[in-house]
């Protein structure tokens, strides 16, 4: 049976492993003892042990190694409302870096219909190749044909790495592809790197609502697949001089069948909707006291070109729709600026926004936990402060 082994001879009972274990599976008796029912063999303790007393069982190769050579970095070119999704350009920026380091090509994969005009932005954004599949059945995203086509392309061309945005579409599609491709998949990454020795992709992601980070790799299986959180990677500066090749692949009709089909689509009309993509978010909590005060927030948002978010308390009160909820049970966001208005900053809310670049907190309670996370804090009445803030930003813009 696979389990950790702890050398009684080496263990100095220092306790480093006990505090390193994210699953509470270790305790200290005369030496460290592991509870096999809690241990997930994650290896955090192995790294933490200063005297190398802990060893993790080595796994047999999960997937047989074949003689195929897996190379190139692929980015799935998600299309939203007829445009290349912004996260695709971010992934091309990051993918360019990875591909250059590996000395391989960066390929944008574009399944869709009548997508000619979308090819140029992908090349300008950094792709050496654009791999196109053009079929009417692919006109809008549907799980099954997109899964079948992407899996088929992977079988044909053997990419080493496949990246995709951690969007609703990406997080529905890529797990299906990973199963069919027998590939490892890491969700919602916030950092990617190449291990220079092994040339493996090192994928870093938050877990436990951002309370810990894990770096994950796929030792054997290929491709190495990851979804990446929007807004964390940087797009390249658009270079119209960049050249790329386009390749059109044909696929069999059988791959395009769908049992789950889209029969209706409603775009959310409000321009304050897509918090996952926003550069600036102003978010309100119970401290706004009533639904009408969200107007004050919307005024500020309009002034800043920002999206409006909400805490769960504000959503539960019916002041904002659920699609605006930020946090563990809502969306995860990482804008350049997050302004939290009347939000206490409970751990479940922080889980969704604590990786924002700059955080501003306005709260009348100086001891509110949000101030521990905030870059700038203001203690005061948010209902009185919001109009002043909107006015001050407006005045500053006019001066500029």
């Amino acid at each position: 049976m696979k389990q950790l082994t702890i050398s009684e001879k080496l263990c100095t009972s220092c306790g480093a492993c006990v505090s390193a274990c994210p699953f509470g599976a270790l305790r200290m008796e005369s030496v460290a003892v592991v509870d096999c029912n809690l241990c997930t063999l994650c290896g955090a303790c192995v790294d933490a042990c200063p005297v190398s007393a802990i060893t993790r069982p080595e796994s047999a190769a999960a997937v047989p190694v074949t003689d195929v050579i897996w190379r190139d970095v692929w980015v799935f070119a998600e299309v939203e409302d007829g445009h290349i999704h912004p996260v695709v350009l971010e992934l091309l920026g990051e993918g360019r870096r990875l591909a250059d380091q590996l000395g391989e090509r960066l390929v944008a994969v574009l399944p869709g219909h009548e997508t000619q005009r979308l090819v140029a932005p992908l090349v300008v954004g950094g792709a050496d190749h654009v791999l196109v599949v053009d079929r009417p059945e692919l006109a809008c995203f549907q799980d099954e044909p997109y899964t079948a086509v992407l899996t088929e392309l992977i079988r044909r061309h053997h990419p080493a790495i496949v990246l995709c945005g951690a969007t609703t579409v990406g997080r529905s599609l890529i797990p299906r592809v990973a199963i069919l491709a027998n590939a490892g998949l890491t969700a919602d990454c916030t950092a990617l790197a190449i291990d220079p020795k092994t040339r493996r992709l090192l994928q870093t992601r938050p877990a436990f609502g951002g309370n810990i980070y894990a770096t994950i790799e796929c030792p054997v299986s290929r491709p190495q697949m990851a979804t990446v959180r929007p807004k964390v990677m940087k797009p390249l500066a658009a270079d119209p001089a960049r050249k790329g090749e386009v390749r059109l692949d044909q696929v069999a009709d059988a791959l395009l069948a769908a049992r789950a089909v889209r029969i209706g689509y409603t775009a959310e009309v409000s321009n304050t909707a897509n918090i996952a993509e926003a550069d600036i978010i102003v978010a309100g909590g119970r401290g706004l006291l009533k639904a009408e005060n969200f107007r004050l927030l919307e005024d500020l948002a309009r002034e800043l070109g920002a999206a409006v978010g909400a805490s769960r308390a504000a959503v539960d009160a019916g002041w904002m729709p659920y699609s605006h909820q930020i946090g563990q049970t809502g969306k995860t966001v990482c804008p350049r600026l997050y302004i939290a208005c009347g939000i206490s900053g409970q751990i479940q809310h922080l889980a969704g926004m604590s990786s924002s670049d700059v955080i501003v907190a306005i709260n009348k309670d100086a001891t509110a936990p949000i101030f521990k996370t905030a870059t700038y804090g203001i203690v005061g009445d948010v209902v009185a402060l919001l109009p002043k803030l909107t006015e001050a930003f407006r005045a500053a813009k006019q001066r500029a």
Partner: protein, 269 residues
Amino acid sequence: MRMIVCIKQVPDTADVKIDPRTNTLVREGVRSVVNPFDLYAVEEALRLRERIGGQVTALTMGPPQADQALRDVLAMGVDDAVLLSDRAFAGSDTWATSYTLALAIRKLGGADILLFGKQAADGDTAQVGPGVATQLDLPQITYVRRVVSVDQAANAPGGALVAERLLDNGHETIRTSLPCVLTVVKEINEPRFQSLTGLRRARKAVIRRWGAKELEADPKRIGLDGSPTRVVRIFPPKLRSGGVMLQGSPDAMVAELVGKLKDLVGKAS
């Protein structure tokens, strides 16, 4: 109508604290609960049963104490429960988890509707629902915020289901044949409380427990060996550098803040 709900036992994040000294999770005294998202899946299954009749089975893979998670949902009204527990499952990533759950679902004879939470609160991957759907070659609707209709007669044999899926920029309506997989978001319903009779029934319920042998699992596809991903390092998040509390009158603080944010705001618009 046969329904199977997959639930996971996770640490209660309401209890999770960070040790400020070591910057790691304090796990002592942290209770285990049913993954909050999965309660919405359970509730939806119970509501479908009330609407169209049928049977709801809860399924979990986890350590022996995950038995409690199953009893929690039995107390909500789930009909029966199966626990997949075996040391050989330890170290499973989402690939191996999907494979193992799919084997159990096959052994149960499948179902018309399989329900999952949007994601688990510990791993946050949202991969297991689509993973199981693919292992079983079933259609899926993810991020479901409303089940519009279930019609067992529609274009038989399995019937059809229509649901609304929440997208980043709106929502779409999807029609799928049955059987199918649904993953649900919080907006879909308000989970019910456990009832007294439910609690009594849950205490007495006999929960089937299956291991790798009962599932006739391929040892190369379960647990650590069946997992293509490997965690190589776990570390605490970077502490945010100490924030600045602005001082002075409200107007002074507003002016100072606007000054500090000027560049940031200018760039965005």
